[in-house]
Each structure stands twice: as C-alpha cells, then as structure tokens.
C-alpha cells in the first residue's frame, strides 16, 4: 500500500463496479427463476427501479436508534466483506484493503450484518421480526460451521490466512485450484455456500410466504433501500470470496463474471427445483453431511 488515498479511490471504483454487477445479477436471477416457472419475469433492470422507488418514498417511520442502525450494520457487513477481499488477483486497483489474515475478518463480516440486523429488527417491536431473526441466525450459524471447517482446512493446506496468498497458490491452471487439490474442503465449503446465498431450500427466514418476510417486516422507505443495496454487495462479495477460496480466483473481469455467475447459478438452480426446508430440517442437514465433510477435510491436514 504505497498511498492510502489511491487505494481508497480504487476501492470506490471497484465498489461501484461490484454494486452494479450485483444489481444486474439480481435481475438476471429473477428472470431465470421466472423462466423456470414458465413466466416472463421482470426486466433485468428491475432491481434499479425498486431501489429508486424505495428511495423516493416520502415518509419513513423510526422506532429508535437501533432501528436506524440495523440496516447500517447490515450494509457495513456487506461492504466490509467486500472491502477486505482481493477481487482480481494481480490487478493492483482491484485489491481493496486485503492484508495477511484477512480471511478471519471476512468470516467475521459474514456474520456481522446479521447481528446488526437482529438488534435493529428487534427494536421495531413487531412480533414477526424476532421470529425471523431467530430463524435467520440459527440457519446462518448452522451453515457457518462447515464453512469455518473448510476455511481451517484451506489455511492448514496453504499455511496462511491471507486470501491473496491462497489465490496465488492456485494460479497456473485448473490442476492447482483448491477444488482439485482439496476436494473435501471444497465440498464442505460449497454445501455451506448453499445455506449462505438465501435461496431455497435454505431461505426460510426471508421467504415472504413464511413468517412475513422475516427480520425486515417493519423496515420501509430508505431503510429498505440500504438492504436492497446491501443485497447486491453481499451476494457478489460472497461469490467472490468462494471463487477466491476454491476456484482459483480471477485475473480479469470476464473471468470474474464467468466464475461468479456459474457459482451463483448452482444455488439458483438448486433453489428453483427444491422445496423449502423448515428450520429444524436445515439445521439437521447442516450438522450432518456438511459438518462431517468439513471435519474430515480438517483431519486430512492434521495427520
């Protein structure tokens, strides 16, 4: 990091790119889900219209300071996850604020937004919000277990906690990717990935058909616009994280788009053809196969 301000400028540029990528990706996913249902679906730019619409709402209701801060924390979680991660390997202006040991911080940031949201939504006083929080936190915690195990296995394999170094070790062809060199950890990680991307069968906490829409039941107007923007950041940031960890990272934008899009499609396609798990089912599922796989992955590098 030669100059802090240059890095900051570059970070803003990459944030802008990734925000738009996340928004368009959301629109494309809506379209794909609709096509699977046999519908036409909304236009690809619909997330932008929704964002403008919620920003244009003239009144808003606050329930207190934590209610204000909930979406802000959520947004911070999304941006923080993105900012401490190298986006493109070997491209200086897309390195963001990555440093050695950033892997731990990134895992923390995945959870951070959920916790902030929990505090905010709980202050709204709506009985559905705490129920949604309970479900969401339980599920994220359950999916975090195999993910943490997979990350530990990767750290043991490469002897580092820096995402940049993990990506660097995977350069030079598919044979070096972690999906080939460490398939057990990749399997555990990808199963956790299903739980993190908020698509069926693991979207109980945000599904409108269940307890209405979960934690954001009371959120409206600009609070909601934070969440929609965050959804774009968070989704693409998680995709980039998994791409970096298991699929060799990317060195230019077309490769990044190709890899993250294919990764997202895994969850989307599993989501559209599968029914929704209840909370009990999903937690049991996470602590059985994925967790056992993760433990095996760790054990391989322990002995």
């Amino acid at each position: 990091m030669e100059n802090f301000w240059t890095t900051l400028l570059y970070a803003f540029i990459s944030m802008f790119i990734i925000f738009n990528y996340g928004m368009v990706l959301g629109g494309v996913v809506y379209k794909i889900i609709a096509r699977v249902h046999g519908r036409f679906g909304p236009p690809v730019w619909q997330p932008y219209i929704n964002l403008v619409k919620v920003m244009g709402v003239r009144t808003a209701i606050s329930h207190g300071i934590m209610f204000w801060l909930g979406p802000v924390f959520r947004f911070t979680g999304g941006i923080g996850l993105f900012l401490f991660m190298p986006v493109l390997f070997g491209v200086p202006w897309m390195q963001n604020f990555s440093f050695s040991g950033d892997l731990l911080l990134v895992i923390y940031f995945i959870f951070f937004g959920q916790l902030g949201m929990a505090l905010g939504a709980a202050e709204s006083g709506h009985p559905y919000s705490p129920m949604g929080i309970m479900r969401g936190l339980s599920q994220v915690t359950a999916s975090e277990v195999p993910f943490a195990l997979a990350v530990i296995a990767l750290a043991a394999q490469h002897g580092t906690l820096s995402i940049t170094e993990i990506v660097a070790a995977q350069q030079g062809g598919i044979a070096n990717w972690n999906i080939v060199t460490n398939p057990v950890a990749t399997l555990a990680g990808m199963m956790a990935f299903l739980g993190m991307m908020m698509h069926a069968p693991f979207n109980l906490h945000i599904a409108p058909q269940e307890i209405p829409i979960g934690p954001p039941t009371e959120y409206q107007s600009n609070f909601l616009s934070y969440m929609q923007a965050n959804r774009a950041f968070f989704a693409s940031a998680k995709l980039i994280l998994f791409m970096n960890l298991f699929f060799g990272g990317a060195t230019n934008i077309p490769v990044l788009v190709g890899k993250t899009f294919s990764l997202y499609m895994i969850t989307v396609f599993i989501g559209v053809v599968n029914p929704r798990f209840t909370l009990e089912n999903s937690i049991r599922w996470f602590i059985r196969i994925p967790t056992v796989t993760g433990i095996i992955a760790v054990l391989i590098y322990t002995f």
């Binding site: 519908r39 909304p42 003239r58 209701i61 606050s62 329930h63 829409i213 909601l224």
Partner: protein, 205 residues
C-alpha cells in the same frame, strides 16, 4: 423525506408510544421538476401489492402471479407487509370488521400509496348494497385511485386497471396519501360512524 415518530421523541415515553405514534398524518408536498417525474416513473413501474385479500375478489388476484397472466412483467410483486407495499387492492366486498383492518393496514403504508377498488362491491356495494354489514362506497373511508368494476372482473380487467393506475401515477394525479391527510377529519368521521367499537388510536401506523 419526512420522519414520522419525531413528534413523540421529547414526550415521556412508555412502552406503547415507543412502538407507535398517533400523530395525525401530514401532507408531504411533491418536489417540482424532473426528480419527482423520475420518482413517479419508478413508483409506477415497481408497484408492490399488499397481499391482503379482503373478500371474494382476492381469488382473482392469484392467477395474476401465475404463468398465464404474470404481473411480474410490470415489476409488480405481492408483498406481505404494509410497510413495504405501495398498492392496496381492496378485493371485493368489505365488511365492517374487515374495514377496521383495512384502515389500519392503509395507515401503516408509507406516503405514496395507491388504492385500487376491485369489483362492483367497492364502487356502490354491488350485490351486497342492502347488507347490514358491508360498506357501500369505499371512497368514503380511504381515498381510492382506480376502480375495476365487475363481479368479478377477470385478471385481464385487473391488468387494464393497473395500466390505468400507472398512467395516473405518471401524471402525478395519484396523491391519495396527501388527500387522506388533507381531509383527515372527514375520513375519520366516516370511519367512526361505521366502526362502532373504535378501540385503536386515531391514526395508527
């Protein structure tokens, strides 16, 4: 943007008033110029329906979400909470008991909010015009932007109604929320005339 709830800030708080405030609604003027036009366009193209079926007409709304009629083409989607939705479809007859819930839900929606009366029952009572328990004219209780007449209107008629509503929104004539704030006393008097056991705050959001 106007923050509601600031009025209660300096008052002595108890548990209830932290969660709601019964200050009467205020008119929020339109911004002049191109920004308002842009917002209107976005509102018209992203109508979120409050999924609250009040009468038999809600059965006509279900096909709208399916592959045959698919209103998601127009960016419309059902939304389970009144906080986030901006289109309220009163689907068919509204009994007095339902009207109470309608008023509560309507007041919980945020300022640019649109109401569509579906079916003849919302226009003049329809086949329930002489009933002891269903209201006749919806527009005496909450401001209505568009009516879709018929008993029952087909989903095609509803889509035509949505187009009509969009036109109104883009022209800036769909100002139901401000109208409600302006004629608040009149609406409240009408509501209280019908809802005999009024056990909620005057404005409950």
């Amino acid at each position: 943007m106007t923050m509601i709830g600031e009025e209660n800030k300096n008052e002595k708080k108890n548990f209830d008033t932290e969660l709601f405030c019964d200050a009467v609604p205020k008119e929020v003027p339109r911004i002049n110029g191109i920004i308002q036009k842009f917002y209107d366009w976005a509102q018209a193209n992203s109508l979120w329906i409050l999924a609250f079926g009040t009468g038999c007409g809600s059965i006509e709304m279900r096909p709208l979400y399916t592959a045959r009629y698919d209103i998601s083409r127009f960016g419309m989607a059902p939304r389970p909470t009144p906080r986030q939705s901006n289109l309220f479809i009163i689907s068919g007859y509204a009994s007095v008991k339902t009207l109470k819930r309608i008023v509560r839900s309507y007041e919980q929606m945020q300022n640019p909010k649109f109401v569509m009366g579906l079916g003849s029952c919302t226009v003049n009572g329809g086949m329930y015009w002489d009933s002891y328990n269903t209201i006749n004219r919806l527009d005496h209780y909450i401001p209505v932007d568009t009516y879709v007449a018929g008993c029952m209107p087909r989903p095609e008629a509803l889509i035509a109604g949505f187009e009509d509503l969009k036109k109104r929104i883009k022209e800036g004539r769909a100002e139901g929320a401000n109208e409600y704030a302006k004629n608040f006393e009149w609406y409240k008097a009408n509501q209280k005339k019908v809802i005999k056991d009024w056990d909620m705050p005057d404005y409950n959001w």
